[in-house]
C-alpha cells in the first residue's frame, strides 16, 4: 500500500485533531461508524502485508484473530525465541500464510520493505524501540498495551507517530467494543446514573504460576544477553521485573483506568496508592508489586470523582470489571463479554421505560441487563443505533480493536486508541506505581498528559 491514510483528513482537520476536537465537544458519544459497519467484504478488502514482532501468547492471539479479518496476509514473524518463531509460523501455515522468520526486527524491516503494518507484542520495555523503528520504516503499528514501561518511552512513541504520520494504535481494546460505547451513551445522553461521584475497578486474578519452557528449548545465554535478558526466567516472566514491565498496574490496570479517563472525560489530578511484593517472594530478583490498591482524584465537569482501583494477583475474587457509581444508579461493566448491568437507585426518579426493561438479580438486587440492541432508551424505545451494533458487540474486543486498526490503515475510519490517548492512560497508570513507591499522595502536573 502507498499513502495509506492520505485521505483521512476531514474538513481541513487531521485525524488526530478531529479525534481531539470531537472528544472535547462530547461528540465521541455518538457511535463511530465502524461500530455499526458490517465487517469488510472478503472479496473487496484490500490486502495488507502484515508482520508480527513477538508472537508469544498475546501476540499469537492477535495474529490468529487478525486472520479472521479479510485482506490480511502475514508475510513475516519475528521473535528472538525459535520456539515462538516455529509455533507462530506453523499456525500461519495452517491458514496458508507462508512467512519469513526473523530473529532481529531490524533485519525484518530491511528485508520486508513491502510491509504495510506491524503488530508489536513484545515485552513492554521493547514497545518503544520496536514501534518507533517500524514507524520510522514507514509502517503502521499496532502495539500492545502498556504502550511503554516508562513515560519517556511512551512520549517518544507519540512523537514518532506524529512525525512519521503513520498510525500507531495501542491495544486498549475496550475502546473498540460497542458495549462500552453503548454504556457511555447511556451515562452521557440518557443520564442513567445521575451524577457520577465514584468509580471502582478491579482485576483480581488467581495465584499465578511461573511461565516455564520445554526442556531443550532454552535460549542460549549469549542470545539472552544480546537481547537484554540475564536468564530464561527473566525472558519468560518479564512482567515481574521493573526493567521490562510497568508491573500489574500497567499490565492490567491500564485497561480499566483507561476507561475511567474515557468515561469521566477527564484526567486525574492526584493519586494515592498502596501495595507491595507480598506474596511472590520466593523468586529472587523479581521486583514488581503483586498487589496495588489506588485512589485517583478527578475533577470532572459534573464535580469531583474519586476512583478506586485494585489489582490483586493472589485471588480471583470478583474477577475484573469496572463500576461507575452515580446518585441515580450504578453501572457495572466488564470486557468478559457477559457483565453489563445497571443498578438503579430506589430513590431515583423512575424512567418510563424501566418497568419494561428486562431485569436480572445481581448481588441481591434487581439489575437492568445491559443488552446491546435491547436496552431501552430514555424515550422508551429500543435504541436503533444499539441494535445496529448488536453483531459487532458479540465479538471479542481485541478483534474489533484490530479491525479498527486495519480499517484505519485502509483509510476507513479513525483509530479508537491512538498514541495520544494511550499516552494519557500511560501517564495515569505509571503515577500509581510512583505513589506506592513514595508512600504518599502524588499530584499530576498539568502538562503531564500531553506528549
Amino acid at each position: 500500500m502507498s499513502e495509506p491514510h492520505a485521505h483521512t483528513e476531514i474538513a481541513g482537520l487531521t485525524r488526530r485533531e478531529f479525534v481531539q476536537s470531537a472528544a472535547a465537544a462530547g461528540l465521541m458519544v455518538t457511535l463511530p461508524n465502524w461500530a455499526r459497519a458490517a465487517r469488510p467484504d472478503e472479496t473487496s478488502a484490500e490486502e495488507l502485508a502484515v508482520a508480527i514482532i513477538g508472537p508469544g501468547s498475546q501476540g499469537r492471539f492477535l495474529m490468529t484473530q487478525s486472520l479472521k479479518i479479510p485482506g490480511i496476509r502475514y508475510v513475516a514473524v519475528c521473535d528472538i525465541w525459535p520456539y515462538h518463531q516455529k509455533y507462530a509460523a506453523n499456525i500461519l501455515k495452517k491458514y496458508g500464510h507462508n512467512v519469513n522468520v526473523y530473529e532481529d526486527y531490524r533485519e525484518m524491516l530491511v528485508q520486508e520493505q513491502h510491509l504495510d503494518a506491524v503488530i508489536v507484542a513484545t515485552p513492554d520495555w521493547m514497545h518503544a524501540e520496536h514501534s518507533i523503528a517500524c514507524l520510522e520504516a514507514g509502517k503502521h503499528v499496532y502495539c500492545e498495551k502498556e504502550m511503554a514501561h516508562t513515560l519517556d518511552g511512551a512520549k517518544r512513541m507519540v512523537v514518532a507517530a506524529r512525525q512519521t504520520g503513520n498510525l500507531l494504535q495501542i491495544g486498549h481494546q475496550r475502546r473498540s467494543q460497542p458495549r462500552y460505547w453503548h454504556a457511555l451513551k447511556m451515562i452521557e445522553k440518557d443520564k442513567i446514573l445521575g451524577r457520577i461521584t465514584h468509580t471502582y475497578g478491579q482485576w483480581n486474578r488467581a495465584r499465578l504460576l511461573e511461565l516455564g519452557w520445554p526442556k531443550g528449548k532454552e535460549l542460549a545465554a549469549e542470545t539472552l544477553a544480546r537481547y537484554g535478558y540475564e536468564s530464561m526466567d527473566q525472558f519468560r516472566n518479564w512482567r515481574w521485573y521493573r526493567k521490562y514491565s510497568g508491573g500489574p498496574m500497567a499490565d492490567l490496570g491500564s485497561h480499566q483506568i483507561d476507561i475511567f479517563n474515557w468515561f469521566l472525560k477527564a484526567q486525574p489530578k492526584a493519586v494515592m496508592a498502596n501495595g507491595g511484593l507480598d506474596y511472590y517472594t520466593e523468586q529472587p530478583g523479581r521486583d514488581w508489586y503483586d498487589n496495588v490498591l489506588s485512589i485517583y482524584e478527578y475533577d470532572t465537569a459534573a464535580g469531583p470523582v474519586r476512583a478506586f482501583y485494585q489489582v490483586l494477583n493472589t485471588t480471583s475474587a470478583g474477577g475484573f470489571y469496572e463500576q461507575f457509581m452515580g446518585d441515580e444508579g450504578t453501572l457495572q461493566i466488564s470486557d468478559d463479554g457477559k457483565t453489563g448491568y445497571v443498578f438503579r437507585e430506589v430513590a431515583a426518579k423512575k424512567r418510563e421505560w424501566e418497568d419494561e426493561a428486562e431485569k436480572v438479580e445481581q448481588m441481591g438486587r434487581d439489575a437492568i441487563e445491559l443488552k446491546i440492541g435491547e436496552t431501552l432508551s430514555s424515550d422508551g424505545k429500543k435504541d436503533p443505533e444499539a441494535q445496529e451494533m448488536l453483531e459487532q458487540a458479540a465479538r471479542d474486543s481485541r478483534v474489533l480493536h484490530l479491525e479498527n486498526f486495519f480499517n484505519a490503515v485502509r483509510g476507513e475510519g479513525e483509530l479508537t486508541c491512538p498514541a495520544e490517548v494511550a499516552y494519557e492512560t500511560c501517564a495515569t497508570v505509571l503515577k500509581a506505581n510512583e505513589a506506592v513507591e513514595r508512600g504518599c499522595r502524588v499530584e499530576f502536573a498539568a502538562n503531564e498528559f500531553k506528549a
Binding site: S57, I91, K93, K94, Y95, L209, P214, K215, G216
Partner: protein, 715 residues
Amino acid sequence: MTRDRHVGLMFAIGLLLMASATTRANNEMLEDEATSGLLKTHSRAPYVHRLTLYDHDGTAIDPTDDFAGPYSPRMTCGKCHPYAVISQGWHFNASIPHAPAGRPGEPWFLIDEEVGTQVPVSGRGWRGTYAPDVVELDHWAMVKQFGRHMPGGGYGEPDDEAVRASDKVIRWFISGKLEIDCMFCHSAGQQHDPAVAAQQIEVENFKWAPTAALGLAVVRGEASKAPDDWDPLMPPDPDFPERSGPRMEWDLTRFDPDGRVFFDITSRPPNERCYYCHTTQQVGMGAAHPLAPDQDVHLAAGLLCVDCHRNGLDHRIVRGYASEAVERNDPDLAAYSCAGCHLGVPGADDPEVVFGGHYGAPRPAHRGLPPVHFEKMHCTACHAGPVPKSNMRRFRTALGHGLGLMEREWPNSAAPLIAGPLFVPLADGRIAPQHMARIAGEVPPPDPAPLPNDEYTEAPAYVWALGHNVRPVSQSWGINGCIECHVQGYIDYGKPRSTDGLVPAAAKTMAELRGDDLALLAAWDFGFGFRSTFKWYAFACAAIVGLVIVRRVGDVLVPARAAISGDVDTAADENASRSSVIGIVCWVLAAVGFIWQAFTGFGPNWTAGAVSGWPLFLHMLGAGVFILGLTAVVLVAPLRWRADGKTSTGSRVIFWITVVLAFCTMMTMLVAMLPLVGHGGQELLVDLHEYSALASLVAVVVLIGAALNERKARR
C-alpha cells in the same frame, strides 16, 4: 444349478484366476515398497515393543519435562510401520473420496430425538446413506459427533487444505489431529481404554487421546474451553482457569530408566478390542432372554474376529461377504467368505483357497437341501443373527448408541431405532438378513432408494448386513426340515411389524417387500403340507417300478423265446379285451404325466435358462401324475405284450430303456428329498435329473417311432 450359473461361474473363475497372480504379485510389491527401509524381524515371534515416545513434532518425549507433549502414534509407531499405507485401511478411509466402499455397512446416525431426526451418515457412498457434507458435517463435526468410536485417522486427520477450508483452523491447531491410535485395536489386553479416548475426544483433546487412553499420563483440562490464543507453555489462565487447556501428568512408573515405555501389543487383536465398536445387542420386546445369547459359534470354537476378518499391512480388513473377492480383484479373499472357508473355492489358483477349511472349518453337507436355496439365499439367511420370529427385534449398537461408554440410563427406546432381522435380497438377488433403520428428518429422500420397495416402511430406510452372531448348526434355520420355513406364514419370515414404532403398522410382509408372487408362495405352502405324504407315495411307486424292472429284465427276451419254441400263452387272449381298457388308461396317464413334465421342465429351461417360479411348482405338481403313470404303465405293458404277442423285442427293449431312464429321472429327485446327499450331491442329482430326463425324452421319441413302425408293418 442352472445353465446360466454354470457359464457365469466358469467365467468368473477364469477372470479370478487371471487376476489372482497379478494381484498377489502387486500386493507383495506394495508391501515391499511400503516397508522399505523400516525395521523388521520377519519372525512369527512378536517383537517386544519397548519404545521411545515421540511427540507430534518428532521430538523424543522426556516425561520429566513439564511441557512434553502427548505421544504421537504417527511419529512413534510410524518409525517402523508405514503410517501412510495404514491410513488408507478400512477403518480409516471413510473420509477418503472414492475409497472402496464395498457392501453397505453400519453407518453413523445423526440423531435429534426431539425433532425425530434419524439420518444415516457415511462418507462411503453406501446406498441410502447421506454424505457428511450433505448434512453439514465437516471433518471437525464428524469427529465431535462420532469420534467416541473412531480409532483415529480419516476424519480426525484432515489435510491442510481441508483444515483451511473449514472455520476451525485454529481449533484444529489447538486440539491437534486425531491420529490413528494403533493401540485401539492392537492392545493385547486392557492396557488401552478406548472409553478414555472418547472422553478426551469429547472435549476436543484430540492429540492427547492416545496418551490418555493408554494411561501413560493423566490429561487434565479441555481444549474445547481453551481460547484461540491458548498457549501450551502458559500456566492456567488466572482469570479463567477453566480455559486452561489440556495439561498432562505423566505416569513416570511406565518409563524405564532410558525413558522407554512397554507397549503390550499383539498383531491378533483380541475380540474385546473389536467389541468396543462392534457390539450389537438385542433390546426391548422380543429380545432374547439375558441368559440366552451365546457367542458367535466361531468364537466359541476358539477363533478370533481377526481370524476371518484379516488384513495385510494395508489394513484393508476382509469383511467376508460373497462378492468381496471380485470387488477387490483379489481372488484369494474368497477364502474368507462363509462359503469360501467352509466349502472352498473351486478353481482357485491357491490350493489352500480351493480346499477352504481355515482353522479347521467344517465342510457342511447340507443333506437334503435343494440347491435352489444357495441360489436364493446367502449363508447368513439360515445361520446368522437371531432366529427369525414373526416380528423384528430392536437392536442397540456401539456405533449407533455409544455402547462402551459409561451411562446409568440406557433406555431401550433410545435412538437410533435399529430393527432386524429383515430378509431382503442383496445386489446379487440373494436374500440375507439385514439391519434396518428408518430415515427421518429434514433431508431429501435418498437416491436411489435403499430398499427395493419403498412402500415397505412408508418412510425410506437404510439396511445393512446382519452377519453375526453365527449360530450353531443345531440352531440353523431349517435344521428341523423343510416345513420350518415352508409353511403358511413363515416362508416370508413374517411381517416385520412392531409395537414400538420401528415400522408402520401397515408395513408389508417381507415377501411383499421382495416382490415375491404371493399366490405362488401360498401354493408352495399348501404343497408342502403334503410333502410327507408325497414322499411315501412316490417311494412306494418307485419301489414298484424298481421291482418290476428287476423282475422283467429277464422277460425282455421272453417273447423271443416263445416265438422260437411256438409256446404261446393262450390265456392271454382271454384277458386281452379287459386289459386293453386299463392299459389305455395307464398309457394315457403316463403320456399326460410325461408331456406335462417335459413342458414344465424343458420348456422354461430351454427358453429362460432355469426352471423356477410357477413352472417349477407345476413341474412338482405334475410329478405325482408322472410317477403314477410310469408305475401303471410299467405294470400293464408286459401284460399287454403277453396278450397280443405282437410287440417286437426291439420295442420292448426300447420300452424298458425308457422306463429305466424315467426311473432315474424320478429317483434323482426323490433321493434329493431325503437327508442323504449333501450340497455337491444335490447339485449332481439335479444335473443327473436333467440329463436322464433328456435321455428319457429321446427314448420316448424312439419308442413312439418304433411303435408306429410296428403298427404300420402289421397293417
